[in-house]
């Protein structure tokens, strides 16, 4: 699986400089992000935490180009994506980025498998035949233990299975980075653990992940955690790569201590 994600060891996949995002509502200016700067290296699994309304999701959407930054720079593999057209940005999202959302949203009239391979059908990046695409889709679903749900409608599978299918969809075009917005937010603990297990697994295989969460148990599995308050990055905590052998309880305790320092 490692060879499915392009490895660019020690290279910055994402470089964020002085990123600002301002909303104007009812003639009031709301500064959601204020001069945020950070980097994400290839193979990193960066967690973003913070209280509600601190700008976590806005940061993720601005960095991934889904939302336009008001000011600042976001470099994706060295290229400033804040200046790109919507169409070009869509192309980058399709080919080079993967997305996982809290609500496990999928197209309702398609089967789970067709949802997984849909981005590959749209992309021209890999120059493969439909047979090859389908084979890869099956391989991914098998890897995430949901191959038996391939022909099911999306209302026929559990939330955990659906979110794993979303992870498979996010990886179908072999992206350079996966953005996950509270991927376990709508799941129970058991499903949440299953999903995180898969994310850690692909991170260990080389995938770069930026993940927003409010759950310390989830964040404890990231290699690095950014704490954001009122649109500013207040602190950064280096946890190191998590492996199956690591004691998760210890990582959680360290993280919780740090979060308490941050005012969590």
């Amino acid at each position: 699986m490692a060879n499915e994600i392009r490895m660019e060891n020690e290279e910055n996949v994402i470089e964020v400089r002085d990123l600002c995002k301002t909303y104007i509502t009812n003639k009031r200016q709301l500064n959601v992000l204020r001069n945020v700067s950070f980097d994400i290296k290839s193979g990193d699994m960066v967690g973003v935490m913070g209280p509600s309304g601190s700008g976590k999701s806005t940061l993720l959407y601005s960095v991934s180009g889904m939302d336009r930054a008001t000011a600042g720079e976001v470099r994706f593999c060295g290229r400033d994506i804040t200046k790109l057209s919507d169409s070009k940005m869509a192309e980058i999202r399709l080919d080079e980025m993967g997305f996982i959302f809290q609500q496990m949203y999928m197209l309702k009239n398609l089967t789970v498998f067709d949802n997984v391979i849909l981005p590959a059908c749209q992309s021209k990046k890999l120059h493969e035949t439909m047979k090859e695409t389908k084979a890869r889709g099956e391989e991914l679903m098998r890897k995430f233990g949901i191959i038996e749900t391939a022909d099911n409608d999306i209302n026929e599978v559990s939330g955990g299975q659906l979110q794993r299918a979303c992870i498979a969809r996010s990886m179908i075009n072999k992206p350079r980075i996966i953005f996950a917005d509270e991927p376990t937010g709508a799941l129970n603990r058991s499903s949440s653990d299953e999903v995180m297990k898969e994310l850690v697994k692909i991170n260990n295989e080389g995938a770069t992940i930026m993940l927003v969460t409010h759950d310390a148990k989830v964040a404890a599995k990231c290699s690095r955690v950014l704490y954001i308050v009122d649109g500013n990055i207040k602190g950064e905590f280096e946890l190191g790569k998590y492996t199956e052998e690591d004691d998760i309880k210890t990582r959680e305790r360290h993280l919780n201590n740090w979060l308490m320092e941050m005012g969590w």
Binding site: F99, Q102, Y105, K108, T129, M130
Partner: protein, 784 residues
């Protein structure tokens, strides 16, 4: 509480509610004004006839009639309660505007002071006198001959001329349309009438006619009694004569049909709107049930909104429909004295029908609420999408355009939703196609045999030549033309047909029928719906109108007087004709009509023997026009269009309906696309998030509309052919023809009209789909 929920809903679904409201307004407007017009025309016609003293049956006597005998006979008829009469003189082509002879309608000159049937001006006031040197003429005659009020026309009877100033249009119940009834009454001042009457040409009794308008309770009794009398020419009861207003009635019927289609489209939109609303409010409905509201109460809550839209739409439609009904009535009242005696009642009824229909159907559609349970609301998402999620088609094994795949998948996943568009667009297109097929048939040579006799080109001769031919051998005349044409490189057969009134005796009763005597007509040219054409003097063919009226048919023997006493003839064939309101007789070519007894012919018929192309036929007609001295030369389709006179109005109505159909299509497309965008906001955001650009998503949405519209117009094209037959055959049947070959303008029904509907759908759905640009991929964060 209810009003709070309703006002919130009305704000949330502004476009959907506004478009539904527009449909309700238009449907109420057309239903009300269509009903109003129909009531006014159908009811008002009888009143017009009564006001005009037109009686229940009109009889015409020509030539050597005996006035005393006619009136003695009328007095003997038990059902007759009274009559009026008028003496008239007929002379063809005797009216000129400048140097141009008025071709449409033969004048029937009548003394205003002795008129049996009354006339009215355009303000519906009775015209009781006409100044010397002035005249009133009916509108249809003025339109057909391009005469305007105040213009001077010249009466030229056998070389003696005098001028008259047209004072205006008159409304003439029985003789109101020269396209339907060949004579047009010219009611003149006594001085001018004497100028006509004193012309020596009228010493010939053939140019004189006596018209009776008879009040009776049994028109059949009068008809039978009059047929026995000398000089009897024609009898037509009120129902038959009212057929001249068929086009005015047809306009009302088409409006009613259009209203019906609009109501259906409104229902389809209503159903779509309700289903969409229920899907959206899936969770709320479950919660309402959970807290104890009954099905009835929840259904009432949802129905009230549509009742509100129906009432507002119907009221606006009512107020808009009243002036529209006025305009329609004014247009129909150009030829008739019509008063809107029922007032605004038809508009009120139309609006009430709409309200009842919408509310009833809305209630029916909310029946789906009964299936929802509180558990469903909790188990499934707020949109209830998982509740109704259906699988369409799988991604195929080879690479295809994903937008096209998604479009097909959506259509197959929610066929009922797309059926809404299909039905609306199919109905809208069908109305236009049926009218186009009707117009195409009326403008083709399909009706040639029913108009007179089949032919490829028809050469109309002048009235002088027609008079001259009464004393000549018609066969030699036709042969002469045929020889000239053949020598001129036009391989053809030329024949003609004399039209004369002969006396028949059927089961002891006498009848006079307009009879066609074919001269040199090749075998097989005259078409018969049953049996065979008459081949000798002992055989005749009878029109289906007479056969059904008198209950006689093939094999029956009747008597005919060819001019030298009665003889038995056997009916060998039944045919259909538009002439004389469906009544006529056809003789064999060698029927012994004595020289000089001919009624008169108007045309030489040309049948090409080399089966030329349409283009060659057109060129040949042009050559004959240029090189020969005929009054007019028609191609077969031109002749039929001229004879029926209905193609023009139907074409005009077709373009009006096309415009309405395109507006419907645009409105439905906008409504549906706005709804789809609202319903699929999450899917659009997701696709944008995973890298689909705006163009691809717009294409996905527009392609769905294009695919369904293509299916709708193909279906409409296929259905239009049998439907035209189904709808128009009874209409043509009421004019005497049921066996007719419909013609289709395939360019129009396969390309032009479907293309316009498709183009309008694509344009409207494309413009609306641009709204999806406001949906951002980051909206994924807001999905609940």
């Amino acid at each position: 509480m209810i009003f709070h929920i309703l006002s919130k809903d009305l704000k949330r679904r502004k476009t959907m509610n506004a478009i539904l409201l527009v449909f309700v307004i238009i449907a109420a407007m057309f239903t009300g004004s269509g009903l109003s017009n129909m009531v006014a025309v159908l009811g008002g016609l009888d009143k017009f006839y009564d006001m005009s003293h037109a009686g229940n049956i009109m009889c015409i006597f020509e030539g050597n009639y005996n006035e005393n005998e006619i009136e003695r006979t009328l007095a003997k008829c038990g059902s007759v309660t009274g009559w009026t009469k008028e003496l008239g003189y007929v002379y063809p082509e005797s009216v000129k505007v400048g140097d141009e002879v008025c071709q449409t309608g033969t004048p029937l000159f009548i003394n205003m002071d002795e008129a049996g049937e009354l006339i009215f001006d355009k303000n519906n006031d009775q015209i009781t006198e006409v100044d010397a040197g002035h005249i009133y003429v009916n509108k249809a005659y003025m339109d057909a001959n391009h005469i305007s009020t105040g213009e001077t026309i010249t009466i030229d009877i056998a070389g003696k001329t005098f001028d008259l100033i047209v004072d205006g249009e008159m409304k003439d119940a029985v003789w109101g349309d020269p396209n339907m009834i060949s004579n047009t009454r010219f009611l003149m001042n006594e001085r001018d009438f004497k100028r006509v009457k004193n012309n020596k040409i009228f010493e010939n009794a053939n140019y004189k006619g006596l018209v009776y308008y008879i009040e009776c309770s049994d028109t059949d009794e009068v008809d039978r009694a009059m047929q026995d009398l000398d000089g009897f020419g024609f009898a037509g009861d009120r129902d038959m004569l009212k057929m001249i207003y068929l086009m005015d009635m047809l306009a009302s019927f088409i409006l009613i049909a259009l209203s019906g289609a609009l109501i259906l489209v409104s229902f389809v939109i209503l159903r779509f709107s309700i289903n969409f609303t229920l899907s959206e409010e899936f969770r709320e409905i479950g919660v309402l049930k959970a807290i104890g509201l009954k099905n009835f109460q929840i259904r009432r809550l949802h129905t009230i909104k549509y009742a509100g839209i129906a009432v507002i739409g119907a009221v606006i439609g009512f107020f808009a429909g009243v002036p529209l009904a006025g305009v329609l009535l004014e247009s129909a009242a150009e030829r008739m004295v019509l008063e809107n005696s029922s007032g605004i009642m038809p508009n009120v009824v139309g609006s009430l029908i709409i309200i009842a229909g919408i509310v009833g159907y809305a209630w029916h559609c909310t029946g789906r609420i009964k299936k929802f349970t509180p558990i469903d609301a909790i188990r499934f998402g707020s949109g209830g999408e998982r509740f109704s999620g259906k699988r369409g088609v799988r991604i195929p094994g080879r690479r295809i355009n994903t937008a096209i795949y998604l479009a097909f998948n959506d259509i197959l996943s929610s066929p009922v939703r797309y059926l809404t568009i299909l039905i609306s667009f199919c109905l809208s297109t069908l109305i236009v196609l049926v009218l186009d097929n009707t117009a195409a048939t009326l403008q083709s040579d399909s009706l040639m045999d029913s108009c007179l006799i089949d032919g490829d080109a028809i050469c109309e001769i002048s009235s002088e030549e027609a008079m001259d031919l009464k004393r000549r051998d018609l066969s030699k005349w036709a042969e002469g033309i045929e020889k000239e044409f053949n020598e001129d490189g036009i391989p053809c057969e030329v024949y003609t047909a004399d039209m004369t009134t002969l006396e028949y005796e059927i089961r002891g009763d006498k009848y006079n029928y307009l009879t066609v005597w074919p001269v040199d007509v090749p075998e097989g040219v005259m078409k018969f719906t049953e049996g065979t054409e008459p081949t000798n003097p002992e055989e005749i063919g009878l029109s289906s109108g007479i056969a059904s009226k008198l209950n006689i048919g093939i094999g029956d023997t009747i008597k005919v007087n060819y001019g030298k006493g009665k003889r038995d003839v056997i009916i060998t064939g039944i045919y259909e004709t538009f002439n004389n309101l469906g009544e006529g007789v056809r003789l064999s070519a060698d029927a012994p009509i004595p020289m000089g007894s001919q009624g008169g012919i108007g045309y030489a018929f040309v049948k090409y023997t080399d089966n030329p192309s349409a283009k060659t036929e057109k060129l040949r007609a042009e050559r004959i026009r240029k090189n020969y001295d005929f009054e007019k030369v028609y191609e077969a389709w031109e002749f039929c269009a001229e004879m029926t006179g209905a193609a023009g109005p139907i074409n005009a109505m077709k373009y009006l309906l096309l415009m309405i159909a395109l507006i419907i299509v645009a409105l439905v497309s906008v409504l549906m696309e706005r709804t789809f965008i609202a319903a699929e906001k999450n899917q659009i955001a997701l696709l944008k998030a995973i890298g689909f650009n705006d163009g691809k998503i717009v294409f996905w949405h527009v392609f769905r509309f294009a695919t369904v519209t293509l299916l709708a117009v193909l279906l409409a094209t296929a259905v239009s052919i049998p439907l035209t037959n189904l709808i128009m055959t009874p209409v043509f049947g009421s004019m005497g023809v049921t066996h007719l070959e419909y013609r289709y303008n395939f360019f129009n029904i396969l390309l032009l009209f479907p293309g316009l509907v498709l183009g309008m759908t694509i344009a409207a759905s494309f413009m609306t789909s641009l709204f999806m640009k406001s949906i951002k991929s980051s909206d994924m964060a807001n999905i609940e």
